[in-house]
């Protein structure tokens, strides 16, 4: 094995281990201020989507721009050397494939479907242009983080169940297992980030070239080729992951990776027809309004569409959220979950608060600290709780269901919601009442009522309510700080 390959494997292992470790630390509640989302911040696909959707220039774009510049020099080294999802696929292909060497040769040829990813990229960017960031659905970093954060950790750490997580995990599993049949199938055919890097990678200064006289056309170089970019034929630097396996495999040492200033021929365009590109973009331009019209929180607030504290208004939120679920991994109570239907089709897999699962910790601000894109802004604890003097950050309002509440409906004493209420003074107060049980015995009851201007919507009341499967006090999004129109009380 040549040193280039050893070093590459070392890099890949390091970045995979680092990203898994950071995610694990985040979920374990490590109090140290790791920048868990740093890879996500350097993600040019997220940055491009955010810039198109939000019209702004996210600070994170600086890191992403650096990655793009490096890609212009080195090619798609990110895919072959850094991307943890790429590494996982490579690992699974190496471990699981029962391919013969003849089959490997065949499977690593450049195929027409390698161009799908460019059409997908056009589709996603067009979608973003109309103000709906969907890049996170297939962005490899989001895909991996989401699958682990909402699919694996809840199972391993005995957290509350996460219905949307199993789908996220299923997609992750499918991506990783697909490599058994086609190595790095996701990278070659679907990855929109790979496509974006490929568009620049084909101009890369450093690339794999073939010294013609030494080459015997044995094609050994394609046996372990990750990108399916045909180092032997018309090499496609836009598809090449710079894994450098080909250099290692060449018995004649006829391949080299180095500076190519004078291009012998024009850089091979991505093999994508103009029709596919335009079609993808048009589909995005038409699809975005249609998806939006299917409903969600954009035009009208939804009672159970409760966003984590610090979340920006719904329009901006859908611009910025890349569905990585780092917020959910950071949440100590497991109340932040990937949405299935509550946020509409375009809000699929965006984080929502499900109070029955946990309740938002009053002074906790971890979700905002973990968010890599500013969809959830970081809050100081004093700001969130209102201890700094300004009104606290509200994510909704609790309502007592008098038809289910024990003291209201059944003349049975209970004050659990009042006890749990963290605000000061409490948003849940009790009204005393002397009543008779159905059997005639006298009882003194304390019946909960909510003062909406004090309630922050944290939902610990709903979480702890002893009334079975559906709580007798429930939070709905009205009164949330982030939406000045979603209000009910005059003057609030």
């Amino acid at each position: 094995m040549r040193w280039t390959r050893r070093i590459r494997i070392l890099w890949q292992g390091t970045f995979l281990a680092l990203s898994l470790w950071l995610l694990e630390r985040l979920a374990a509640g490590d109090a140290r201020a790791f920048r868990t989302g740093v890879l996500h911040e350097a993600d040019p696909l997220s940055a491009a989507s955010l810039a198109l959707a939000d019209g702004g220039f996210p600070v994170a774009l600086l890191l992403a721009a650096a990655l793009l510049l490096l890609t212009l020099v080195l090619g798609r080294f990110f895919c072959g050397w850094i991307c943890p999802l790429g590494t996982l696929q490579q690992l699974s292909s190496w471990l699981l494939t029962p391919r013969t060497r003849r089959e490997s040769l065949d499977v690593n040829r450049l195929r027409p479907w390698h161009a799908w990813k460019y059409a997908l990229l056009a589709f996603l960017l067009a979608f973003a242009l109309l103000g709906s960031t969907q890049a996170g659905l297939l962005d490899p970093l989001s895909l991996l983080a989401r699958g682990l954060a909402s699919g694996v950790w809840p199972a391993v750490l005995h957290r509350p169940p996460v219905p949307g997580g199993i789908l996220a995990f299923a997609l992750l599993l499918a991506v990783v297992l697909a490599s058994r049949w086609v190595p790095r199938f996701f990278c070659r055919a679907l990855c929109p980030l790979g496509a974006l890097l490929g568009v620049l990678g084909r101009f890369a200064l450093l690339r794999v070239t073939r010294g013609k006289p030494a080459c015997t056309d044995c094609r050994l170089c394609t046996f372990a080729c990750q990108g399916g970019d045909e180092p032997l034929g018309i090499h496609r630097p836009g598809e090449c992951h710079v894994c450098l396996n080909c250099l290692d495999a060449c018995p004649e040492h006829a391949l080299r990776y180095g500076l190519v200033l004078a291009q012998p021929d024009r850089p091979a365009r991505p093999d994508v027809g103009r029709r596919a590109l335009v079609g993808g973009a048009l589909l995005g331009l038409v699809g975005a309004p249609v998806v939006r019209a299917s409903g969600g929180g954009r035009e009208a607030a939804h009672p159970r569409l409760i966003r984590p504290p610090g979340a920006v208004a719904e329009e901006a939120f859908l611009d910025r959220c890349v569905k990585c679920m780092l917020c959910g991994a950071a949440c100590p109570t497991g109340t932040i979950q990937p949405a299935l239907a509550v946020a509409g089709l375009e809000g699929f897999w965006t984080p929502v608060v499900v109070p029955r699962r946990g309740g938002c910790e009053f002074a906790c601000t971890r979700c905002g600290e973990a968010c890599p894109t500013g969809a959830i802004r970081p809050l100081a604890a004093a700001r969130k709780t209102g201890y700094d003097g300004a009104p606290p950050v509200r994510i909704g309002t609790a309502f007592v269901d008098r038809g289910r509440c024990l003291p209201w409906a059944n003349q049975i004493a209970c004050i659990v919601c009042e006890e749990m209420c963290p605000t000061d003074p409490k948003a849940i107060t009790v009204a005393r009442a002397d009543e008779r049980r159905p059997d005639g015995t006298a009882v003194r009851l304390q019946r909960p009522q909510v003062e909406p201007l004090r309630c922050v919507g944290c939902g610990i009341c709903e979480h702890r309510c002893p009334v079975g499967e559906e709580a007798a006090i429930r939070v709905s999004s009205v009164g949330e700080t982030r939406d000045p129109l979603n209000r009910m009380v005059l003057g609030s």
Binding site: G29, L220, P332, E361, A413, C414, I415, M420, I460
Partner: protein, 334 residues
């Protein structure tokens, strides 16, 4: 099954000649062996757990020390130094040595229910907890465990209350709700069927150390109410007849010592408070072998008479102790 991969000349990718095991093959075999091992161990653990669960739930032990005969059933000390107050009441009771033998496993059960700072008086003062841990260690305890099942996120509660740091520094093993294993136990009464955390059943001595504070339903939460914190899911139903259930828990859980922390007491917005306006610095600690008497003393620090608390009356009727405050010996202020 894997023959297909082998070709004449071995696998050049792994550089393994025929007859030896390539790196990939080795990785596959190792992971298969590991998987099989995990499966067998997991299966065994699973079935072992089921066998254990099928056995009848153990009863809660009685942790009282029969021979201990302090002159009074409870002592109270006042002063600005909480740790010194603890030392004084313990000395009056005959020292921790009268209660903890060499080799004992002691559970110290503070109230760490809430994500609040010590100044907010929603949790037991960390200095009081730490001083008790030190006293148990000095008396020869093999191990001192500090544990509680919090209402807020357990990690935040133990960190911000200061109790994790203080108790660990004093030499205790500190376990929050995310680290505690729940086990079945026989609890007669309304709490029947609820689980308790495991270290409770392993302890040979138990020191109950609640903070005295206001509660919206029972008016005050003190020592007997503090047993809610050893119970798992379903304890929120106990509030439906709280005076009876608190007294019932007092009958089930018989601690070696009850120590009421009134360093700061919470007079309103209980049991978690928030505003410093609701906190009064009393600077007192009471310790005794009579949990009802200790609760009555704690209520007095909140300006509540024993007759105002339903659970104190209920506990007296059950013969769990006396609420006669004259039996608390005040050691005075330093």
């Amino acid at each position: 099954m894997r023959k297909a991969r082998g070709t004449a000349g071995g696998d050049p990718a792994s550089g393994a000649p025929n007859g030896t095991v390539g790196r990939r093959e080795a990785a596959i075999r190792l992971s298969q062996a590991a998987l099989a091992g995990v499966a067998v161990a997991g299966g065994a653990a699973f079935f072992a757990g089921r066998v254990k669960a099928a056995a009848s739930a153990p009863a809660i032990p009685d942790w009282r020390v029969p021979a201990a005969g302090p002159a009074a059933r409870a002592y109270a000390a006042r002063g600005d130094d909480a740790a010194r107050n603890v030392r004084r009441v313990l000395a009056a009771l005959g020292g921790m040595e009268a209660f903890v033998r060499r080799g004992d496993v002691v559970l110290v059960k503070p109230n760490v229910g809430w994500d609040r700072l010590p100044e907010q008086a929603a949790n037991t003062d960390p200095k009081v907890v730490a001083e008790l841990v030190r006293a148990c260690r000095a008396a020869g305890a093999a191990k001192v465990v500090v544990a509680d099942l919090s209402c807020n996120d357990p990690r935040r509660c133990f960190a911000r209350s200061g109790i994790r740091a203080a108790a660990e520094e004093a030499g205790a093993e500190v376990l929050d709700g995310s680290q505690l294993r729940m086990v079945a136990a026989a609890i007669p009464g309304a709490a029947d069927g609820l689980e308790v955390f495991e270290p409770l059943l392993r302890a040979t001595r138990v020191v109950n150390v609640p903070v005295a504070k206001h509660h919206g339903l029972s008016r005050a939460t003190l020592g007997m109410k503090n047993w809610f914190g050893v119970l798992g899911r379903g304890r929120n139903r106990l509030h439906q007849d709280i005076d009876r259930t608190v007294a019932e828990l007092g009958a089930v859980f018989r601690p070696t010592l009850t120590v009421i922390d009134a360093t700061r007491v919470l007079l309103g917005n209980g049991p978690q408070g928030g505003s410093l306006d609701d906190v009064r610095a009393v600077g007192a600690v009471c310790a005794g072998v009579d949990p009802v008497l200790c609760d009555a003393w704690g209520a007095a620090q909140l300006s509540l008479g024993p007759s105002e608390l339903g659970f104190v009356g209920e506990a007296q009727r059950r013969g769990l102790g006396t609420a006669d405050l004259a039996q608390v010996r005040e050691l005075g202020r330093t």
